[in-house]
């Protein structure tokens, strides 16, 4: 009896979870779009959606960690641009791609950890700190490139074009690995528990023996690594970079996190929802395109989807969250 009840409530919990609702929604959108334009559910389209999703996905996975810990980084877009420009210049200078990739990741980790360190040192909200630093990163990118587009002429393509066993794109594997590792960090490691703890109640976490500053820096470092990998993937895909590349992705990423059901106040959420959010966002623009809807509607739809997500989160809060009693 008891067992049955528990299993039942577990099923109920999954069915009412944000990721599951999003999953259903994604399927619905796909079916509806496909019934109007049958080219939607083809390998070509799906590949292009997932390919576009890769960069945003990795940045969003990192943003999830930050949001859960109660932070934001709105400089990730500029960071992405900076890293891509720097990597393109190094590649054109003849450096080895592997070395360039490592350096690209390091640049992003350094920028991200700098954001965190300033936020800790000045006891300032990371939102404001990164509002400032994003300008610095943009400026550095402009100075590096002199404002010119850096084209790679076919170099560094392997990452985007390689297919495992000739079928499965490497990009997907990296995207999946990115999400799986963040999921594992959040759910299975001490660091993850600390991320949730400081996002919920920083003072209580401190008294419980959590090293607050180190944990925060870890969050920023994790986000930095993911932005770094994202810049590798995007550079390989686009095969060119300029200072403005990536701009706007920071808000899109935070949007995906919120759509995924993570609490903007920290302490709650997960990366599975973010993944669904990313897929939904990436698929939206393609769907709008294929349905021959005026693309000017794209951002409206994007905005409405975020509002809807907030709405379902709120409704779930009323019906599920308050069931504990007093």
């Amino acid at each position: 009896m008891e067992e049955q009840k528990r299993a039942k409530s577990k099923v109920f919990k999954v069915l009412t979870s944000q990721p599951f609702i999003l999953f259903v929604f994604i399927i619905l959108v796909a079916i509806v779009t496909n019934s109007i334009n049958s080219k939607f559910l083809t390998w070509g389209t799906i590949n292009s959606i997932l390919g576009q999703a890769a960069g945003l996905g990795l940045v969003s996975a990192g943003a999830t960690v930050l949001v859960i810990s109660g932070h934001f980084d709105i400089s990730t877009g500029r960071m992405l641009g900076l890293a891509m420009c720097a990597m393109a210049i190094m590649l054109n200078g003849g450096m080895h791609p592997v070395l360039v990739s490592v350096l690209g990741i390091l640049i992003c980790v350094a920028c991200s950890v700098f954001n965190g360190a300033v936020s800790i040192a000045f006891q300032a909200p990371s939102f404001v700190v990164t509002l400032a630093t994003q300008n610095i990163y943009y400026s550095i990118a402009l100075l590096l490139t002199n404002g010119y587009m850096q084209t790679l002429y076919g170099k560094y393509r392997t990452l985007a074009s390689f297919r495992i066993f000739g079928v499965f794109p490497l990009i997907y594997l990296i995207l999946i690995l990115g999400f799986v590792s963040i999921h594992v960090i959040l759910k299975h490691t001490r660091t993850g528990r600390h991320v949730y703890a400081i996002g919920t109640n920083e003072r209580a976490a401190y008294i419980s023996g959590v090293n607050i500053k180190l944990s925060k820096l870890k969050c920023f470092a994790i986000s930095g690594v993911l932005v770094g990998v994202a810049s590798m993937l995007m550079l390989s895909r686009i095969n060119a970079a300029q200072a403005t590349t990536g701009y706007g992705m920071e808000t899109e990423a935070i949007g995906a996190v919120v759509i995924g059901g993570s609490s903007i106040n920290g302490g709650k959420g997960g990366v599975v929802g973010t993944f669904m959010g990313v897929i939904l966002l990436s698929m939206m623009s393609t769907a709008i395109n294929m349905l021959h809807i005026n693309t000017f509607y794209e951002y409206m739809v994007y905005g409405i989807v975020i509002l809807l997500a907030l709405g379902t989160t709120a409704v779930r809060g009323y019906t599920v969250g308050k069931s504990g009693g007093f």
Partner: protein
Amino acid sequence: MEKLLELKNISKSYSGVEVLKGITIDLEEGEVLCLVGENGAGKSTLIKIISGAVWPDAGTIRYFGKEYGRLHPKDVIDMGVATIYQEIDLVDNLTVAENIFLGAELKNSLGIIRAKEQERQADELLEKLRLDDISGKTLLSKLSTAQKQCVQIVKALKNEARILILDEPTASLGDKETKSLLALVKNLAGQGIGIIYISHFIEELFALGDTLLILKDGCQTAVRKAGDTTPEQVIHDMIGRDASSFYQREYFQTGDRILRAEHYANRHTVHDVSFEMKSGEVFGLGGLVGAGRTELVRMLYGADARLNGRLYMDGKEITPSSPRDAISKGIFMISEDRKGEGLLTLRSVKENIMITHNEEREWISLDREARMAAQSIENFAIKTPGQDAEVTSLSGGNQQKTIIARCVTDPGEVYIFDEPTKGVDVGAKEEIYRHILNLAKADKFVILISSDMPELLSMSDRIGVMCGGRLVDIVDVDQTTESDLMRKYLGLS
């Protein structure tokens, strides 16, 4: 006399758990009805139902002789039912008058607030309630906690409230402040306002109440006239077993290991405190609010900066530099501020218990974690729907047990309890006492801060008395009395 409020057979359950069953209440004009019960007995839910915030599953409510359909909290307020919760819900940077009229400002035809008129009316209201020491012009932040409570009551009464609900209004007040608040409540009852009063302090209930409604596990076990009953009887009704205010503890042989704190001081609140204690001892810290007890133990734990101070165990220095360092040296602290510094509010019971243990290693085995959490929940008899339930869904006593469980999952040496039974019901109190004593029995060092005199006297082996940031005396429990201690707290002897 007119019946202000009638509740008949009210029941409410949350996700299958019945939190209220068959509650029946009559409240007459000028009557003070006290709700008594352990935390989790259903008092808060009952109040929420009366104030319209929660809708009961069954039963009827009649306000002022009339039954209504589903009501919004605002409708209930407009009918004249004012509810005042424990937390003060006023704005510090506004004046008393501005606070009283907040949301219902008096405006002239241009929409500009008539500040003078508000102040005049506020003063009139305050005077009517004999709160002459508060002026409408005063900035709220200048008032004491008790005065703020009074302002809150005035604000509620501004709309001609005829029923006033007070939820533990004296929880954070001192003796004298409590008295003046009780006087105000009596005065209001005298004016014909019906009062529903909740408090953990039994003396208050007897000083104030006409009727006592005793709740236990969501049922009303008894309705008693205050004049015809005794505190022992009420406690008996509350917990279904006899309990004396003095807990009978077991005493053990103290060990021979020694913990020594030397010259602890910070800038303002603690001055050169040194003491020594033996293992297996419960070292109580007594004193008035502001004596520096919490500040002292926070420094011992490494949570706050200090000017001076070292901690030695058996001659070896173990002064912690941070809570994290303290925990690695086997020093644990349960903070007095459960919500602010204890609970990870959005997280599960399991994560709350395991957060300190998680320090050990990077990779967490979820199975092992679940097993350990289940073990703790069983050991501490934490009442929870499951280990994944949000910790805030538990009652105060169970939240506190969760935090204590957190500190004893790993072996340790020094345990600091800062007001461990604050806001905890009688039943959970005894359990917490038992856990504290188990630590002493296991030859650990236990430091206990308590403002509850009987608790401090019955739990401690020795009591360090703090006054004005100094440790003024250390007394053996069997050689002191309550009045003796109080004199020392006040710095009289």
